[in-house]
Symmetry: C2
Subunit: 199 residues, 2 copies
């Protein structure tokens, strides 16, 4: 009844909820949304099936919370862009941070990808996907403008798709992924885009 006890409960509740979110993210990422059962999640979180519904209204709301939390995390990053004003430095930071982020948040990217390729599921998070995409593409376009690119939108799009492909491969085979070599190669490949057509 005392306030202190109440706070204790709150803390336990929070911890347990986080636990559920963490294991659910992992399972959804690995087995897909439909491929994961509440029972599996409960087991891995070491609670009963029934208790799951004390923390989340249903399976769908659980997925929503996970996805939105992930989006927020990723949108908060500034990809080291504030470190310098030189476009070459910015590009280097962006590449570095994006690839670091990839290995730091593997499960989230895996889930993101699973959802992205399934139109029916994707619809639900469409807005968030576009929002993130817009933010990222715009940032890159500005950098390419700074580098004197003759088609910054296209180069930005291409670097974006390249990140996606790297993510896909990293997800499928996280070992056998020479991350530092890749950073270097990307930097070389994108740092010197074609200038205005030379005659």
């Amino acid at each position: 009844m005392s306030p202190r006890t109440k706070q204790q409960f709150e803390k336990i509740r929070k911890t347990r909820k986080d636990k559920i979110l963490t294991v659910a993210l992992e399972l959804f990422a690995q087995n897909g949304y439909q491929g994961t059962s509440i029972a599996q999640i409960a087991k891995k979180a070491k609670i009963s099936k029934g208790l799951m519904y004390n923390y989340f209204k249903n399976k769908e709301k659980l997925l929503e919370e996970i996805v939105l939390e992930g989006f927020n995390k990723i949108m908060e990053l500034d990809y080291g862009l504030s470190k310098s004003d030189k476009p070459t430095d910015k590009l280097k930071s962006l590449i570095d941070e994006t690839l670091n982020n990839l290995s730091n948040n593997l499960h989230y990217w895996q889930l993101y990808t699973v959802l992205l390729v399934q139109p029916r599921v994707q619809k639900k998070f469409e807005k968030k996907f576009y929002q993130f995409r817009e933010f990222f593409i715009t940032t890159m376009t500005e950098i390419f403008k700074g580098l004197g690119s003759n088609n910054p939108e296209l180069h930005s799009f291409l670097l974006g798709t390249h990140f996606d492909g790297l993510a896909l491969n990293f997800i499928a085979t996280p070992d056998d992924f020479p991350i530092e070599e890749i950073k270097q190669a990307l930097y070389e490949q994108y740092c010197k885009p074609k200038r205005k057509k030379k005659k």
Copy 2:
């Protein structure tokens, strides 16, 4: 009882089986394996649920047939490599054909991607995935050697991942995908890889 009738039956059977394979591919690609029910497939193929099991032992075998058929189709392509011996031409053909193939076999690539990102499902087709990957990477590596690349394996890997990323984006938003512009840009980007280090 006559042979002719028997042939007719065979033909009808074949046609119907193909119909099932086609609609199942589409549904699996769009909604995932677990996200697609036998009832949905049967409905779209305009047959009863029960009849499905006359054609396929079970849902899993159906998926297997679809995936293996798709792999075979894709492995048969030669990506226009025999047209010329010049590495620059070969690279151009490869880029062209890969992107054409992407839009011609959208559903298959979509399924391929869905399966690739889900480790549990992936295991089953692992060997086939690697087989295709090896073939593709080796082909590209040879081309980059011909172009005088200082690290043909890495450049080949990077072009491969870039294709994957483009596929992912094409799948997610097939409209708003400037395919010809991309072909051109890829060609420019990969055709002149760094030579041996200049001192």
